[in-house]
C-alpha cells in the first residue's frame, strides 16, 4: 500500500491547530491516491493526542526519539523526515504552515533536491505530477501551479482550511524510532530560549488599536495606548509607523509583521495597502477611522468613522470614561 507522510507538531504534548489543518489536506490527498496516511512527530504526544491523530485518519505515527531531539534542530528534524519518507516510500511529504514547518520542509526538499510548493490550499495528483493551488503575496493572490515530481513535497497554508475528521477513525500504530544523526545536523540546533516579557500579545489580543501614517508621531500614539488599555487590547501599527521609528517592529501588522485576528480591529489613519490588509483581514470586525472616505481600509471595513483621528480617539476615550463613571 502506498503511503503519504505528514509532519505534525506538538505544543504541550498536544497537536497544533496548523498540524490539524495539514492533516485535513493530506487526508484528502491520500484518499485520492488510495494511500495510507502516516504522521511523523518530534516530541512526546500524550494518549489523547494519539487518539486525536486516529480521528484525523492517521494509521501510523512515527516518533523521533534520542538525545538529538531534545531541542529544535531543523536539519536533524529534516533527516528524521527524509528517513521516514524513504523507509515507507511515501508518495508525498506534507508539512504544516508554521515557521518550523516551512523551515523543516525546505531542508527536506534541499536534501532530496526535489521541488517544494509552500503555502498550498489544494492539491491533487495529475499525469506527471501534482496540480495545486497556493497562496502568493501573503494571501491576497492565488497561484494555480504544477509540481513536476513523482514525490510531492508541500506545506499547507495557515488558517485557510476548515479542518475535519476522518469518516471512520483509525487505530494508530505508534512507531518510536531511535534516530541517530551526525553532529553536523546539530550545528544549528537551538541552544537557549529567552522569554519575551509578559503583557498583552498583539497576535492574541481581543481588540487591536492600530495606527498608521495618519497618527503623525510617536507621541501621538499615547491616545491609542490609552484606548487599548481601556478595552483590554493591544496597540498595532502599519509599516510607515515602524519605518519612521514611531513604534517597534513587534507592533507591526501585515505581511512582514504580525497577523492578527481579533474580535475588533481599529485601523486609525491606515490606508489599507494589501501588505497591511493581509495582516488584519482575518479580524472578526474592522473599524476604520480615516479622513478619506475612499481609502481602501474604509471601503473594506465593516464600520467606519470619517474624520481626524486626533479628534475622534480622545472623544472615544472620554465617552468610555463617562460611561464607566456613570
Amino acid at each position: 500500500m502506498t503511503t503519504l507522510l505528514t509532519h505534525v507538531e506538538l505544543v504541550d504534548e498536544t497537536l497544533t491547530r496548523l498540524s490539524t489543518e495539514a492533516l485535513t489536506l493530506a487526508r484528502g490527498l491520500a484518499a485520492s491516491h488510495g494511500a495510507e496516511l502516516h504522521a511523523a512527530v518530534v516530541g512526546h504526544p500524550n494518549d489523547a493526542c494519539v487518539e486525536r491523530l486516529g480521528a484525523l485518519g492517521v494509521t501510523t505515527l512515527h516518533i523521533a526519539t534520542g538525545p538529538s531531539f531534545d531541542a529544535y534542530a531543523p536539519v536533524a528534524w529534516a533527516r528524521f523526515l527524509t528517513g521516514v519518507i524513504d523507509d515507507v516510500g511515501a508518495i508525498a511529504g506534507v508539512g504544516p504552515g508554521s515557521d518550523r514547518g516551512a523551515e523543516v520542509m525546505a531542508h527536506v526538499a534541499a536534501a532530496l533536491d526535489l521541488p517544494l510548493a509552500a503555502n498550498c490550499v489544494a492539491v491533487e495528483p495529475v499525469d506527471g505530477g501534482w496540480s495545486l493551488t497556493r497562496l502568493r503575496w501573503g494571501g491576497v493572490l492565488l497561484e494555480d501551479a504544477v509540481l513536476e515530481a513523482d514525490r510531492a513535497l508541500l506545506t499547507v497554508a495557515a488558517h485557510q482550511l476548515t479542518t475535519s475528521d476522518a469518516d471512520v477513525p483509525a487505530v494508530v500504530e505508534v512507531r518510536p524510532i531511535e534516530v541517530a544523526v551526525d553532529d553536523d545536523a546539530l550545528v544549528t540546533r537551538v541552544l537557549d530560549t529567552t522569554a519575551r516579557s509578559a503583557g498583552m500579545s498583539l497576535a492574541t489580543a481581543p481588540v487591536v488599536v492600530s495606527g498608521g501614517r495618519g497618527v503623525g508621531s510617536a507621541e501621538a500614539f499615547a491616545v491609542l495606548e490609552e484606548l487599548a488599555e481601556l478595552v483590554g487590547g493591544a496597540v498595532g501599527c502599519s509599516r510607515v509607523a515602524t519605518n519612521n521609528g514611531w513604534r517597534s517592529h513587534s507592533d507591526q501588522v501585515g505581511q512582514t509583521g504580525t497577523r492578527v485576528a481579533p474580535d475588533l480591529y481599529i485601523a486609525c489613519g491606515i490606508s489599507g495597502a494589501t501588505q497591511h490588509w493581509v495582516g488584519c483581514m482575518a479580524s472578526k470586525r474592522i473599524l476604520a477611522i480615516n479622513t478619506d472616505v475612499e481609502a481602501p481600509m474604509v471601503t473594506r471595513a465593516d464600520h467606519a468613522v470619517i474624520g481626524d483621528l486626533h479628534e475622534i480617539l480622545p472623544a472615544v476615550v472620554a465617552e468610555i470614561r463617562a460611561r464607566r463613571g456613570a
Binding site: 534541499a110 517544494l116 501573503g138 493572490l141 537557549d192 529567552t194 465617552e319
Partner: protein, 254 residues
C-alpha cells in the same frame, strides 16, 4: 567580513493587485518596483557588519536587467558591489533560482575572498516560497537558520536569534554561514544623496546564469473569491464617539 545579500525585484502594489488578461503575471504597467522589507533589513545588516568589522559587502539579484535598479538602491544604502544574474523570464522557480545563485557564489568565491555570511530574506514578497536560502546553503554545505531577528558576530561565530511566539531562540553558527532574516532585524537607513550618486555610477557585474527546470511551474494567478463588505459609517468626527463605544460594548470589549 565579506557579506553577500540576495534580493529579488518585485512589483510594489497598492490596495489591489491587478493581473494581466492571461493571468500569467501581475500587471505592472502602473506599478513601481521594490524588494521585500525582509531583504531591505538584510541589506542594512550587511552594511552595518562591514562598518563594524571591515571587509566588503555584495548584493546579488537574479532577474530581468531592470533588477539593476534594486541593486543600485542597495548600493546607495552602502553596499559595495552589485551582481546581476540576468534572465528573460521574471518568475524563475525557487529550486532553479537557488541552483543559479549557488553557482554564482562559487564563481565569485573562486575569484576572490569567500563570503563569511550570506543573507536572504525569510520569504520573498511575491512568491513566498520559503526555501531559496536554505537550498543555497545546502548546495554550498554551510549551516543555515531562518526567521532571524538579531545577528551578533564574534571570533568566527555568528550568534543568531530567531523570533518565536514566546521569545527568542538562540543558535550559534560557525562561519561561513547563511541566514534568512526577518524585518525588525534593524531599521534600514534612507540612502543619503552621496550614496545615491555613487550608486548611479556603480558598475554592476553580470554573470549569465544556467537555469535548469526547477519543477514548480505556474499555470496562472487569480484572485480569491472577494467578500464584498457593506461599510456602515458610524458617523463623522467626534460626534461618532458614542457609536464607537456602543460597538466596543457590542463586541464585549468593555
Amino acid at each position: 567580513m565579506n557579506v553577500l545579500v540576495c534580493v529579488r525585484r518585485v512589483p510594489s502594489p497598492g490596495a489591489r493587485i491587478a493581473l494581466t488578461d492571461d493571468g500569467q503575471a501581475v500587471d505592472t504597467r502602473h506599478l513601481g518596483f521594490t524588494i521585500s522589507p525582509h531583504e531591505e533589513c538584510a541589506v542594512e545588516e550587511a552594511v552595518q557588519i562591514v562598518e563594524r568589522h571591515g571587509g566588503a559587502s555584495t548584493v546579488l539579484a537574479l532577474g530581468p536587467v531592470e533588477a539593476q535598479d534594486q541593486l543600485r538602491t542597495a548600493i546607495s544604502m552602502g553596499i559595495d558591489h552589485g551582481v546581476l544574474l540576468p534572465t528573460d523570464t521574471t518568475d524563475v522557480d525557487p529550486r532553479a533560482t537557488a541552483h543559479a545563485i549557488a553557482d554564482a557564489i562559487r564563481t565569485l568565491e573562486s575569484e576572490g575572498a569567500a563570503f563569511d555570511l550570506v543573507l536572504f530574506g525569510n520569504e520573498s514578497a511575491d512568491a513566498g516560497n520559503h526555501q531559496v536560502g536554505i537550498r543555497v546553503a545546502h548546495a554550498l554545505g554551510r549551516p543555515v537558520v531562518s526567521g532571524i531577528k538579531q545577528i551578533d558576530l564574534d571570533a568566527g561565530v555568528a550568534t543568531m536569534h530567531r523570533s518565536v511566539a514566546d521569545g527568542l531562540e538562540v543558535c550559534e553558527l560557525p562561519l561561513p554561514a547563511v541566514a534568512a532574516v526577518r524585518e525588525g532585524l534593524n531599521l534600514p537607513r534612507y540612502p543619503a544623496m552621496r550614496g545615491r550618486l555613487l550608486a548611479k555610477k556603480a558598475e554592476i557585474r553580470h554573470l549569465t546564469p544556467t537555469l535548469q527546470p526547477g519543477g514548480l511551474r505556474t499555470v496562472r494567478l487569480r484572485h480569491p473569491a472577494q467578500q464584498v463588505t457593506e461599510t456602515v459609517v458610524l458617523g463623522h468626527g467626534r460626534e461618532a464617539a458614542a457609536a464607537v463605544v456602543d460597538l466596543l460594548e457590542e463586541v464585549g470589549a468593555l
